[in-house]
């Protein structure tokens, strides 16, 4: 049962074959048994989870169940959940209990999903390996000596290890798609503005977007149905009618034009990963799609641009952590300024401090035009590349990450090496487009590889259709890490 997709679990729950309490107990016992080796969770609350499961069972009995009612889920630990610790994997917020719910938390709660815990992550979502956590690194269930990717590494590892059927994540530069690729799970980052950022602790506000992990494209569609939609409390939430992300899943791919960016298939891409991605593209062709080469000429500028814009916005957003209103305050200090300096030096880990310093510099007097403004201009060029590409195709396909999961410690001493991990995901965030990762094979060392699909603005339903049709013809998404399957 722990291997089921969301619709399969829902069929058991709503058909009277299992209660939410039973299902929730099953996943809680898996967490208890298997998570000590993975460290995917920061907080697990069996008491709260079982209370929510019993409430879901009452709803099901009353005939008021929705597609997610009674299904256990986990939230990345930067979604505020009332009465739950919300740490952002930082010492700064290690003991902070949220007094309110994020929009996403409220929505999934209302849908009857059962929150079992909050997942580990890179501190304040800054990282690509989940090694930057105050609560220790997350381990990849495919090989516990390797990283699960980041920053939503806990959510990805938890879904991969079948500790929870689905989980939320956030993606600022690849933080959902890259860990999904490295753990053999499915992960979607929707269009900027499709999911409310209210109650999602901010990292880089013009790039941050909430999304989800699951075991199939249909799982992602069901999560998006609950999470998406307009929210007046987020000034960047886009006012559009609610949509059913499942609506096109059953449509065949005949006539679909798949764009292959030539800059995504170069020597930067490991041959084992490239082979899996190309085989997946061949499968799309067999299913009736045609392929066309497209070009994203400014793609190589995306990582440099990102490391100006994201730190700049982070330095501004994280100025709120001053040891006054919430969070860590140093025990000893000489005066107010000293209290700020020490509280922030003690509360933030090295990568967060580094990015705040970079951001402070690029926004400082005399450097703004040369860095921040220039980065915003190149950002427009990158977005323009995608607009031209989508004139020739309906969806873009390519790799998610240049390699399979790398060993813990391999890149942690060199920030720039770590940043280059995101070269295929960051352009999507800069443009504000939706993207997803679905498993498409096993590469070196038998480790999972993800296929990235990039859609045009608000074209999630089509991306999900392509992913679902691919999954009807293949079974890579059904592969569990050895020792974690049914």
């Amino acid at each position: 049962m722990f291997d089921h997709t969301l619709p399969e679990l829902a069929a058991l729950l709503h058909g009277g074959k299992a209660s939410s309490e039973e299902v929730t107990r099953l996943f809680l016992s898996r967490i208890e048994r298997l998570d000590p080796a993975l460290n995917a969770f920061i907080t697990v609350d069996a008491h709260k989870a079982l209370a929510a499961a019993r409430a879901a069972d009452a709803r099901i009995a009353a005939g008021e169940a929705g597609p997610l009612t009674g299904i256990p889920i986990a939230h990345k630990d930067l979604f505020c959940a009332k009465g739950w610790k919300t740490t952002c994997a930082s010492r700064m917020l290690a003991d902070w209990v949220s007094p309110y719910d994020a929009h996403v938390v409220e929505r999934l709660d209302r849908a009857g999903a059962v929150l079992v815990g909050k997942t580990n992550m890179d501190e304040f979502a800054m990282g690509s390996s989940n090694e930057n956590s105050h609560f220790g690194p997350v381990r990849n269930p495919w090989d516990t000596a390797r990283v699960p990717g980041g920053s939503s590494g806990g959510s990805a590892a938890a879904v991969a290890a079948r500790l929870v059927p689905a989980a939320t994540g956030t993606d600022t530069g690849g933080s959902i798609r890259q860990p999904a690729s490295l753990t053999g799970t499915c992960g979607i980052r929707p269009t900027y503005g499709a999911v409310s950022r209210y109650g999602m602790v901010a990292f880089a506000s013009s790039l941050d977007q909430g999304g989800a992990f699951g075991k199939s494209a249909e799982d992602l569609a069901l999560m998006m149905n609950a999470m998406g939609g307009f929210d007046a409390r987020d000034s960047t939430s886009v006012e559009r009618p609610a949509e059913d992300y499942r609506r096109d899943l059953a449509k065949p791919l005949a006539g679909l034009r798949v764009g292959l960016p030539k800059e995504y298939f170069t020597a930067d891409l490991a041959p084992d990963v490239g082979a899996c991605v190309i085989a997946a593209v061949d499968e799309l062709r067999r299913l009736g799609a045609t392929t066309v080469e497209v070009s994203l000429p400014n793609q190589a500028l995306a990582v440099p641009v990102y490391y100006v814009i994201a730190p700049a916005e982070a330095s501004s957003n994280l100025s709120r952590f001053d040891g006054v209103r919430y969070g860590h305050r140093a025990a000893q200090y000489a005066d107010l300024n000293d209290m700020y300096r020490r509280s922030r030096a003690e509360g933030f880990g090295p990568e967060v401090r580094r990015r705040i310093l970079v951001g402070t510099y690029v926004l400082s007097h005399g450097y703004y035009d040369a860095y921040y403004l220039q980065a915003q201009k190149v950002r427009r060029l990158i977005a323009g590349d995608f607009a031209r590409a989508f004139a020739a195709c309906d969806v873009i396909a390519g790799p998610v990450a240049p390699t399979v999961a790398f060993p813990i410690g391999e890149k942690s001493s060199d920030p720039v090496q770590m940043y280059l991990e995101d070269l295929y995901t960051i352009p999507v965030n800069l443009a504000g487009l939706p993207g997803l990762s679905v498993p498409c094979g096993l590469g070196a060392h038998g480790l999972p590889v993800g296929l990235q699909l990039i859609g045009d603005y608000f074209d999630e339903a089509r991306m999900l259709q392509v992913a679902h049709q691919y999954q009807l013809a293949t079974d890579w998404h059904r592969k569990a890490p050895p020792g974690y399957g049914a």
């Binding site: 902070w96 007094p99 269009t191 900027y192 503005g193 013009s206 790039l207 007046a232 000034s235 960047t236 886009v238 400014n298 190589a300 500028l301 440099p304 641009v305 490391y307 100006v308 330095s315 100025s319 040891g323 006054v324 209103r325 919430y326 969070g327 860590h328 305050r329 200090y333 005066d335 107010l336 300024n337 209290m339 700020y340 300096r341 030096a345 933030f348 401090r353 580094r354 310093l357 970079v358 402070t360 510099y361 400082s364 860095y371 403004l373 220039q374 980065a375 915003q376 201009k377 190149v378 427009r380 060029l381 920030p415 720039v416 940043y419 965030n429 800069l430 443009a431 504000g432 603005y457």
Partner: protein
């Protein structure tokens, strides 16, 4: 290339203490990052409009009525030091 003094100045602006013995390592990391960023600075962007956001935004207006309730006790419960509804900080004015 950032100098040690540049790093000290940025750390002060960012209100993050960087101890003297840690300056060299931070300087090295930041210069590595700015080496990566350099590639972007050479691009000709004459006439390109800066892109501040992923979507074109217009500020929405809402009705001018109270929608929030006073929950300051709840919200201040997590503060390091509070007295009579006020956040306490070290004395700023003698």
């Amino acid at each position: 290339m950032l100098s040690r003094d540049d790093v000290r100045r940025i750390a002060e602006l960012a209100r993050i203490e960087v101890p003297e013995e840690g300056l060299a390592a931070v300087q090295h990391d930041l210069n590595g990052i700015f080496g990566l960023v350099e590639r972007m600075r050479a691009v000709d962007t004459a006439g390109v409009e800066p892109m501040a956001h992923a979507v074109d935004l217009t500020q929405r207006l809402r009705e001018d009525k109270v929608t929030d309730t006073d929950q300051h006790e709840l919200f201040q419960a997590c503060a390091p030091q509070v007295e009579d509804g006020l956040y306490l900080v070290p004395k700023v004015i003698e």
